[in-house]
């Protein structure tokens, strides 16, 4: 796979070995009787020989082989070590160096075969008598003497060595050093300490107003962060380290099972912390074996299914949103959901009435239950029913997620999402019963504040079990103080609920207060506390005190909210997928007392700065002349804080964010543009203030999201009839190759309140729809690879999607209509850049579809 890297590794190692050889040989000359030293020399030569053989470096192999023969005789005491023999071996070392240098520069061993020295070694090994005659040859000018003066008399061997070292820079050896893993771990620990100390300093800093301290702590902050990243990187290893042994595993499996399997590996250089590499080693091997055994069929079965006889097993690793994704996919038989259910019932893991209600996705997750195996026969490779559950628990132990996708007859894919590192994680600090706890950010979905006194109003009881109505679905709720047996807090004005994700289920956890998010260093608990499943570890907070890190899964189980509520699973999966799509670019800015506000960058047309003097008043509002037009301006701070508008001091220049909608433009005046962030928004909280959509965490800081429609309406009253209405909650998939056009369409649909998914080609579109149901598709006619009609055909052949309306887009709508593509499965078609018409069309389609879902039979007739 990465021969270059391996050879490089070999070079570095060999250079180290050779340096040691030099020393050892000189030592050996002084103490010829030292058997241990001799054995070490022998081993070193042997190692180099072995590796040469592996790379088929024949010259090197020959030289080292002869040297080894000679050394073995010395080691076995068959002959005595003489200075001339030492010289000969030192020469061998030099010759080896030369070949290595040649390999390093040209990748090959070079023309010089070093036959002379090989011959001398052989002769020395064959007859002890030859040693003395050797002396003469040895002292004669060496025939292979090249750039470096080869001086082979015993007295000079050391000089020749040092000359060697001085003259020849060994790039491979110099560019890398080997460091003990223990040292790196120690460094990581120290960095952890530094992070904690940094946190303490920062907290200290906020308590006082010292400019010098402030500046210093800011620098400390930056340096610590960089150091942390740097040290983290030193512990990173490419995932290829684990993958290296998989080709062999696959080959052996293929032979044993009489299958033909081609292994594809993509992203082997994706890096992970070494502790994580360790942790995923076994699960990966297991998944690969599973795919070979259960996934890929035998060649004759494949041929009958119309597939090529050779099965494909693909491994893919890539970074995404601060995590590493690893996919193990095969083009085999896929998972038979029916059989999975049947097996689960047979094993008593599921009741048949449960099975009927279960969706395919949920059923697929059954394979992760302990004691489950669909293999008809137990083979020596898999099928013993210990496996997938172990894989899942191993991955979850390191904070990862396992997901399985499968299509019967077409193959399955197991997707692992794994954090980059375990040592330092972001966490949310909360209070309960007077104690402080930390919740790992990965399990956090959202924060909900329940206001207005009695929580009973918000939390309802179902047979004594508290639940919360969250956007129409019921969320099981637990009280953290009850779970932990803490005293309950006094009845507060408002309580906070943290919505958590454990495995594929969600629950709400009522806490007394929410503090903030922090980078925390995870420290293990002593063995006395290992038995407590509710804690994942502990950390040291800014004030130097210890805080416990909650184990979300343990809390959920202990509270009994995770027992049987499988129903939540599907919602959770969808939530996750949505979260994946919510990664978007955000423009961050400041206005009034709102330190951090955000709008999606896709909505922003331009950022401008106008001198205060250029702002004029017209029609009761502020305007500015902009590109031969009058641009109405909205003073954001006045909208957000009407009560504070009095203390408005006018700066010299005004920062304006310009938004366009069709022909109309509007400018929003802000105090300062901060940054553009591209990030997954993980936490959200509904806003109570007008003009804001809600809050989320962007760049580790809480940020308010602007409700643009409301802002502009309230201030200018001008814009936007394309309000929400029917659009809310509907999902539209844009299938279009051009990023630019996709962005245009997206911003349109975004503004109208649709949830938008994007796909650049047919495959991606299908994948998106598999992950999440959509209400309408907007597809470009020239969608790669073979046009939108292929998408339409693919969708119509599928029960779930055959009713999803498709809007075709082309440069000219007329052409589309006349060519009759509408008949070919599209609901409607519009010109690509006619945003208004496109929106109208989508709205119509979604409405019609919603109606048809209500009355499915009639809808069928209509179509």
């Amino acid at each position: 796979m990465q021969d270059q890297d391996v050879i490089r590794e070999f070079l570095v190692e060999s250079h180290e070995n050779l340096s040691r050889l030099d020393q050892e040989l000189v030592e050996l000359e002084k103490r010829p009787q030292d058997a241990a030293l001799l054995a070490s020399v022998f081993r070193t030569i042997h190692t180099i020989k072995g590796t040469c053989g592996f790379f088929a470096f024949s010259t090197l192999e020959k030289i080292t082989h002869e040297a080894e023969t000679l050394l073995s005789q010395l080691r076995d005491g068959k002959r005595k070590l003489t200075p001339s023999l030492i010289t000969l071996i030192l020469e061998t070392v030099d010759a080896t160096r030369k070949v290595l240098a040649s390999i390093e520069t040209s990748g090959e061993e070079g023309a010089d075969r070093f036959e002379e020295i090989t011959e001398r070694l052989r002769r020395a090994a064959q007859s002890p008598a030859a040693v003395e005659s050797l002396r003469e040859t040895g002292t004669a000018p060496a025939p292979q003497a090249g750039s470096q003066g080869e001086n082979c008399s015993p007295e000079n061997s050391e000089a020749s060595k040092s000359e060697d070292g001085a003259m020849k820079p060994y790039a491979a050896a110099d560019a890398n050093i080997r460091v003990a893993v223990g040292l790196l771990d120690k460094l990581m620990d120290l960095v952890g300490e530094l992070v904690l100390t940094r946190n303490q300093i920062l907290q200290f800093n906020t308590e006082r107003e010292d400019v010098a301290l402030n500046a210093t702590s800011q620098r400390l902050n930056l340096i610590t962060t960089e150091l942390q990243e740097g040290v983290m990187k030193t512990r990173m290893q490419p995932i290829g380290m684990v993958w290296n042994k998989l080709p062999r595993v696959v080959r052996d499996m293929a032979v044993a099972l009489e299958k033909e399997i081609r292994l594809e590996m993509d992203g082997a250089d994706t890096e992970l912390d070494r502790t994580i590499i360790e942790a995923i080693k076994d699960p990966l091997v297991h998944l690969v074996r599973n795919a070979c055994d259960h996934g890929i069929e035998t060649p004759d079965v494949r041929a009958r299914a119309g597939k090529p006889p050779q099965g494909r097993l693909s491994l893919r690793a890539y970074h995404e949103g601060g995590q590493v994704n690893i996919e193990i996919g095969d083009d085999g038989a896929g998972i038979d959901v029916g059989r999975v259910k049947q097996k689960a019932i047979e094993h008593g893991l599921l009741r048949s009435e449960q099975a009927e209600k279960m969706s395919d996705r949920e059923a697929l997750n059954l394979i992760f239950l302990p004691g489950f195996s669909t293999a008809q026969a137990v083979t020596n490779v898999s099928g013993r029913g210990v496996g997938m559950d172990v894989v899942k628990s191993n991955i979850e132990r390191i904070g990862g997620v396992v997901d399985v996708f499968s299509r019967l007859g077409e193959g399955s894919t197991v997707k692992l999402k794994i954090p980059l590192t375990l040592a330092i994680i972001p966490g949310l600090v909360i209070n309960s019963g007077g104690e402080r706890f930390v919740i790992p950010q990965v399990s956090l979905l959202e924060l909900i504040r329940l206001e207005g006194g009695a929580t009973e109003k918000h939390i309802e009881k179902v047979q004594g079990t508290p639940v919360y109505r969250r956007r129409g679905s019921l969320l099981p709720v637990a009280y953290l103080n009850e779970v932990l047996g803490l005293k309950s807090a006094q009845q507060a004005e408002a309580v906070s609920m943290v919505v958590l994700q454990a495995e594929d289920r969600q629950f709400g956890l009522i806490v007394d207060g929410i503090n903030d998010t922090q980078e925390i260093v995870v420290k293990p608990l002593g063995k006395q506390l290992k038995g407590l499943t509710v804690y994942a570890g502990a950390t040291i907070m800014g004030d130097g005190r210890v805080a416990l890190i909650l184990d979300v899964l343990g809390i959920g189980q202990s509270a009994g909210v995770l027992s049987e509520s499988r129903e939540q699973g599907r919602a959770a999966v969808q939530q996750k997928l949505q979260a994946g799509n919510e990664q978007q670019r955000l423009l961050l800015f400041r206005a009034g007392s709102f330190e951090r506000l955000a709008v999606p960058l896709s909505l922003v047309a331009r950022l401008e700065e106008f001198p205060q003097s250029s702002i004029e008043h017209a029609g009761g509002g502020q305007v500015v002349q902009y590109r031969n037009r009058i641009l109405p301006l909205v003073p954001l701070r006045n909208v957000l804080e009407p009560e504070a508008s009095g203390r408005d001091e006018a700066p010299d220049a005004v920062q304006v964010i310009v938004f366009n909608d069709g022909d109309r433009s509007v400018g929003v005046m802000v105090d300062q543009i901060l940054d553009v962030a591209e990030e997954l928004v993980t936490i959200r909280q509904k806003a109570s203030r007008k003009g804001l959509l809600g809050s989320g965490v962007v760049g580790k800081r809480v940020t308010d999201f602007l409700d643009l429609n409301q802002i502009i309406q309230s201030a200018a009253g001008a814009w936007s009839q394309s309000a929400t209405g029917s659009a809310s909650g509907k999902t539209v998939l844009i299938a279009e190759a051009s990023t630019f056009s996709r962005g245009l369409i997206r911003s349109r649909l975004d503004m109208a309140g649709y949830r938008v998914l994007e796909a650049a080609n047919l495959d991606e579109a299908m994948r998106r729809m598999e992950q999440q149901p959509v209400d309408a598709v907007v597809a470009a006619l020239d969608l790669p690879p073979s046009g939108a009609s292929a998408l339409s055909a693919a969708m119509r052949g599928h029960i779930e999607w055959e009713r999803v309306p498709i809007l075709a887009l082309d440069g000219s709508a007329d052409r589309v209509r006349s060519s009759g593509v509408v008949a070919a499965g599209f609901e409607d078609c519009q010109a690509k850049f006619d945003g208004e018409a496109m929106l109208e069309s989508v709205e119509r389609m979604v409405l019609a579809n919603a109606r048809s879902e209500a009355a499915p039979v009639r809808a069928g007739e209509e179509r």
């Binding site: 932990l484 038995g531 502990a538 005190r545 416990l548």
Partner: protein, 157 residues
Amino acid sequence: MATGIANQRSEAAQTGGQLSTFFAADLFFGVDVLRVQEVLRFQQMTHVPQAPEVIEGLINLRGQIVTAIDLRRRLRLPPRAGNQTPTNMVVRTDDGAVSLLVDEIGDVLDVDTASYERPPDNLDPAAREIISGVYKLKDRLLLVLDTERTVDIAAVV
């Protein structure tokens, strides 16, 4: 392995050497001086809800998180008087540092193997489990605490 080391240690105690001594209630204890990492005055602790009751909490020992075990509760002795703050005696164990909360720290004593004896059979079971032997000093008895077994509270719960 843990018990192996523990045995070695208690052997070391038997063969005499130096013991670091301390008090809990009216009892006089000693542990192998090499096992004691440091002694700290009472530290602010983080309570661990749901933990076994012998665990008093967690302390931050220069960035290391150390579990504090109340020796009185471990030995089922009566609780300390309200105004008495215990002292942390941090001992090295196979599982890292653990703090034992004791009433008061005594001197380091040289003990003589000749005065060593197995713990009496009529000792309270909770105590006998973690006391490996007794040195008969001139004026009182010195109980040798087996730190490995003291911090192994799985047996207690």
